[in-house]
Amino acid sequence: MERRKFISKTAGTSAFIGLGGLSFSSCQSTAKKHITILHTNDVHSHIDPFPAHHSNFPNLGGLARRATLVSQIRKENPNTLLFDAGDIFQGTPYFNFYGGELEFKLMSMLKYDAATLGNHDFDNGLEGLYAQLPYAKFDFLSANYDFSNTLIDGHVKPYKTYLRDGVKVGVFGLGIQLNGLVSKNLYKETEYLNPIEIAQDISRTLKVVEKCDIIVCLSHMGYQYQNLQKPDDLKLAAQTEHIDLIIGGHTHTFLDKPTIVKNKNDRQVLVNQVGCFGINLGRIDFYLDEQKNIRTEGISITV
């Protein structure tokens, strides 16, 4: 009896030591993390910089310059994700001539992780989009377009999670109502679902089921509309509870800095949009640290 007690006691102690050692090292390795999220929107086939004499954007933009900037940032922080919020297509002869092939190939070379679909990405119809998909080595995300009865069924996911340095980043996409904006013969049987309701569901899934540390929405709904019935990024931020960052598009909004909005739970959400035509790159840095008690209002946001 004494011996059995001794053995079990020893087992208990060694289990403690073993677990202690293990947990100590694993806990240690999870502290202090840094995730960088870069983003573009409404690039509209602008591959070359604007000419020096251009009235609005003299000598600005250019995909090859963006490539240099992105690789600089990746060197600085390898845990970088790169996203686009839609309207990749339409705006220069590169699209008219090659139908988006070059845009997708170049975005793949820049190692984009994901994009959502803008209304102009339907400009050559679902067939036109489908034809270019093999050139895209990144994900297409859209949670409120139902493509079940279309050619591109299975090629667009509602959301995806990305693991970088042990941090799980959940990303989902939202698109604008196509009816009235895009000809029906282009989007065909694509079904548009209420983006706010979908966002509430998907962001809950990403938080509760997928246990994501950071939740990002790629939205092509537009930054802000006066019409209260028309969904936009600011309304989305205010009416949901788990999103950390909304990367917007469609309205070609040039913000001076990302906007901070209070969500349903009075927690701060970042909404950003970087104008159009590849003039700007958005950069959001998330620093993660150990915290005994998570006080959401304690997150410091600098813009």
Partner: protein, 254 residues
């Protein structure tokens, strides 16, 4: 005692698990900014080299000469009609009518585009595909709207009130010195309010662009599946010399 030991292990494991769970990092600080991409960033060589053959091919096609303009064709050289507007509306009528007729058995009665849709003048000299892209960079296509007499009246009133010479073809409007309507002829015949008319325009205007709200009451709508820009390219390709004049399609009489 054995029980106690088991409890201890469970307790320690729970403690460790819990403490480890607590130490999973949470977002603590967020920094956001917008970086302007200007010439201080050098172009990445591999991207430049990859784009180069595509750019060369496009330039080769865009810069190939299609026709010649002996005089500059301008959108601002007339008060009620302009050389560029007349040319564009005439081109749409000539290029689209055969398609419409083959599909419906009907003829286009007249054309209405918008002045703002002409993005640039056609300069004297060679006309290239690039010219067509510069004049019409948008992917607008031609639609034919069937309008009743009331809608056509609203259309004519709109044009008389407008301060811009919107491109028209197939219709003639004459106003007096006080801008009161004197005559409307369509295909050379006086306007008849009891008739219906087939009006070629762009999808932009059909959907309420430039406040041309009279299009929303159309009786039928036919998509010509023909981009405005492609009507220009096809027309420039088949003609050697491109000329246009300010004429009497919309005039004010004294």
């Amino acid at each position: 005692m054995i029980l106690k030991n088991q409890h201890f292990v469970i307790f320690v494991t729970t403690l460790l698990f819990a403490s480890c769970k607590h130490s999973v990092p949470k977002v603590d600080t967020i920094e956001g900014k917008i970086i302007k991409i200007d010439s201080s960033y050098t172009s990445e060589g591999t991207i430049e080299a990859f784009v180069s053959p595509y750019r060369e091919r496009i330039n080769q096609v865009l810069d190939s000469t299609l026709a010649y303009a002996p005089k500059t064709i301008s959108k601002t050289d007339g008060k009620y009609n302009s050389t560029a507007g007349n040319l564009m509306a005439d081109i749409v009528l000539e290029q689209v009518n055969p398609i419409f007729k083959s599909r419906t058995g009907k003829n286009i009665d007249f054309v209405l585009l918008n002045h703002g849709g002409i993005r640039t003048n056609i300069s004297k000299g060679n006309i290239t595909t690039r010219t067509a892209y510069a004049v019409m960079p948008f992917e607008n296509s031609i639609f034919i709207a069937e309008l009743n007499g009331t809608s056509v009246e609203a259309l004519v009133s709109y044009l008389i009130k407008s301060t811009k010479p919107h491109p028209i073809a197939g219709i003639q409007i004459i106003v007096d010195k006080n801008k009161n309507l004197k005559t409307v002829n369509i295909q050379g015949k006086p306007f008849d309010k009891d008739n219906v008319y087939f009006v070629a325009t762009s999808d932009y205007l059909i959907t309420g662009g430039d406040n041309m709200t009279f299009f929303k009451d159309h009786l039928s709508l036919t998509n010509a599946d023909y981009l405005v820009r492609n009507t220009l390219i096809d027309y420039f390709s088949k003609k050697d010399t491109i000329t246009s004049v300010v004429d009497d399609r919309f005039i004010q009489e004294n």
